[in-house]
Symmetry: C2
Subunit: 503 residues, 2 copies
């Protein structure tokens, strides 16, 4: 234990960090990242040490303003500092790094300490890299998933819950806006929570937010889903498995997405909403997250097995993820296309994929026998019942219940990309489409995005429009256009590559 | 590119960090740990982003006072912020995490960016954990070592350089204070750089600092070593392989010490001083760093092989590390014991180990044929030449050239530990000795430490003194005494375990 004079410091970005002079640290053998107990009278607070040569003098401790009320200190007060042993969770992380299997309690301790801020980013990075390297056993995978779910809120709908999830990676994937009303209008409960875009131009929550509010509490979600049978809301406002965000914050700078963490992240949120049945969309393709069908099948078995251990029946759909789904990318354009499909005017790729996945849920719910689900889904869509249900859902979430595709406002600024030659479209690049749509302003500017006029296999003539960029500001559309010229997001084969003459 | 109004903030502990409001970050898709370019007029500066919901408002950027002169900004000035791609080194770290081999240039890039502060702690943690898993190939090991050496200063003595290093882990290991003068008095150049204690009660630099100053620049070291043939200085003031410290700062919270990093750290410092020949002390024992002789042999071959590729001839001595070397622990007590040995009064274990290792260097230097080195070292020690040389070295470093063991001041506060029974000492615990000596104040309080009256195999009688704690303050000695009572640092076997009677 050593005594220091308190010096109150305006800011430090990390919660419960104190600053000590390097000389003092050497003297009392405390190092950066170490945890210390701060005592003032009867008050004890745990903090993490950062070191400095300049900001505080020897004998002083820099305390942030967030700690001053907790410790009830003022400038110059004396605080006793005692080095604390590392939390057990840090030792469990070390154990995992050394290749040992963790117990249920050890995994819970790591997850809980991550949420409480008791583990540093460096320690969490150690855990994630170890996961990347060793993977998790099935038991560890189940515990991690449950531990993540237990850190946040949970909802008990008190009836069977159906759910759908996509592992992502393909632009224009607005299928949830069709699946939810199809499944709900068959009488099954499907309270879909979804993400905002992270690296894509529009997450399902972004697209839905064009039609209705998407931010609700768990209590509100329960009420509105039970009313209409369906909901499409943003998961972020629900505090489902919040530990997940803490781990994602560390995965980002490392550019890793360890498979066990990805599985736990998805399944924890399903556990939290009490899902009993789940259909998982695995888009497979060169530029999608899952590169091959074999890999898709391997992942499917993993999800089915873990689902089994968690009491969630899982079916997986390996879908074509080689190019965008439908013809639109970006919140408003995608919302418009989804409504068109509900109104009976949608493109085949979107309808095929949506009804196939919805059909699997209808089969799960006993609404169709195995193999007949998609036909029933198509029938519900064609009957207009899905559109009607979507209007109910939009209404329940506070949107305009009479909304139609023609009313959706898309960006007024436009730029066209023209085919430079006659030929067949041989490739539409997901990655380039994502970048261009984001450059145009999506997902923050909802009217921004891309409308495709052709996809793989389409024949185009020189000078014909192949895609159009939409935006809310000319400067962003210009930026996106220049990027499109640079990236060549659409490849057309048909050019004369070489002319060979006989002379 | 987005514009922000500058807000100058007093402190942030990490160099070149800027603060953005979370809402802005979401809007422009920048995340914590991302790198951004800050532009003001013609000035461009790279910084790392941290995020906050409270400290800066939307539209504002928090700039630390260290950045204000670089950007020449004042409160309210507009700064343009552009997201930068990750540095290539971060991608190379990811590559290593994914199990791929790195090239020379990739390893150099990681090491250089670590030193420049271009890589975050999380990214460096990823690299170290990956090293722990995959190890390094011999080529990677050589590049890492050279890259570490190249980050700092180097010395060219323009003659063959002899060196000695211990991987550590055993208390009381003051052998360098004997080896350096023995080897130097035979005419070989041995400019020994050493560490201060990190987790032990006294590093060689701490012990030497009792006799003479140990902080010198590389220019001063070169001068004084060439003058006397030997030197014992603190490596920390020389800026040899400074990248090493950056990595150690990340290893500490993870509690890992990946073998390739340990080897690189040792060999880089030898490269930097231009070592041609090196003897490596590998103390083996239960509580030492190297747990078994087999492990010691494996490590030896590793060092010899890497040394070969670096142009450093290495010989390894696997030594007994099961209990402290000699009878003293702590800077002043160890300095006194080393001088006693040079004066011809030292304990066998210290003299045996020191002369064995010194002998290997004498053989390297052609001063003795193979197998005769230790005898020559003993002879040099017995002749008084080593003491004479030590006095020259102490004098050159600015200490008292006439120093003798009897003049060394040790702590005046004392506490004795008494044998509770008759018997033989069966175990002296390194770990407990370390803790007790540190509790007494070592290495900061130089007079603090432990004097042993017996070691393994010694017979003691009930009530006899087995160890004595020294300190500069009664409170610390009391603390150390209480710890000693709790830890039982010395085990004595001889108690009647069970009495069996015939009735």
């Amino acid at each position: 234990m050593t005594q220091f004079a308190c010096r109150i410091i305006d800011i430090l970005t990390h919660r419960h960090t104190v600053l000590l002079n390097r000389k003092d640290c050497e003297r009392v053998d405390i190092r950066a990242h170490d945890r210390v107990n701060l005592r003032r009278g009867d008050i004890n607070v745990t903090a993490t040490v950062d070191t400095t040569s300049t900001i505080v003098n020897t004998g002083e401790i820099g305390i942030t303003s967030d700690l001053t009320p907790e410790l009830s200190v003022k400038e110059g007060d004396i605080i006793e500092v005692t080095l604390l042993p590392a939390p057990n969770s840090a030792l469990f992380i070390r154990k995992k790094i050394m290749g040992q299997k963790l117990t249920r309690d050890e995994i819970y301790s790591i997850v809980q300490d991550s949420v409480k801020g008791n583990l540093s980013d460096v320690e969490m990075a150690g855990f994630l890299v170890a996961e990347q390297f060793y993977g998790l056993t099935d038991e560890e995978q189940v515990w991690l998933t449950k531990a993540l779910a237990d850190t946040g809120e949970t909802i008990d709908f008190q009836k069977p819950v159906y759910d759908k999830h996509s592992v992502g990676g393909v632009p224009g994937n607005k299928v949830s806006l069709l699946i939810v009303p199809i499944v709900a209008s068959a009488g099954l409960l499907i309270p879909k929570t979804s993400s905002r875009a992270i690296t894509s131009p529009s997450g399902t929550a972004d697209t839905m937010s064009v039609l209705a509010p998407v931010e609700f509490s768990t209590v509100e979600l329960k009420k509105l889903a039970l009313k209409t049978g369906g909901a499409i809301v943003w998961g972020g406002s629900l505090r489902l498995a919040p530990a997940d965000d803490v781990f994602i914050g560390v995965e980002h700078p490392l550019r890793i997405d360890p498979e066990p963490q990805m599985i736990a992240s998805i399944m924890a949120k399903k556990l939290a909403v009490g899902a009993d049945f789940m259909v998982l969309d695995l888009p497979v393709g060169n530029e999608a997250k899952v590169p091959s069908s074999d890999e898709g099948r391997r992942l499917s078995f993993k999800f089915i097995n873990i689902g089994d251990r968690l009491g969630i029946k899982v079916r997986c759909g390996i879908t074509y993820g080689g190019q965008p789904v439908g013809y639109t990318i970006g919140p408003a354009l995608e919302a418009r296309e989804a409504l068109e499909a509900l109104e009976g005017k949608g493109p085949t790729s979107l309808i095929e994929k949506s009804t196939a996945l919805a059909g699997m849920l209808l089969e799960f719910g006993g609404k169709a026998v195995r193999g007949e689900g998609q036909a029933l889904a198509r029938q519900i869509l064609a009957s207009g019942k899905a559109l009607e249900k979507m209007c109910e859902i939009v209404d329940a979430q506070g949107g305009d219940s009479k909304v139609r595709s023609t009313q959706i406002q898309v960006g007024e600024c436009r730029a066209e990309i023209i085919a430079p030659c006659d030929g067949y479209i041989t490739r539409v690049s997901n990655a380039a489409m994502n970048q261009i749509a984001r450059a145009a302003g999506a997902p923050v500017e909802k009217g921004a995005g891309i409308l495709l006029y052709g996809k793989e296999g389409h024949k185009v003539s020189k000078g014909e429009k192949v895609m159009e960029i939409f935006g809310e500001r000319d400067s962003r559309v210009d930026e996106a256009y220049n990027l499109a010229i640079k990236l060549s997001p659409i490849s057309i084969e048909g050019m004369l590559l070489q002319e060979v003459s006989g002379d």
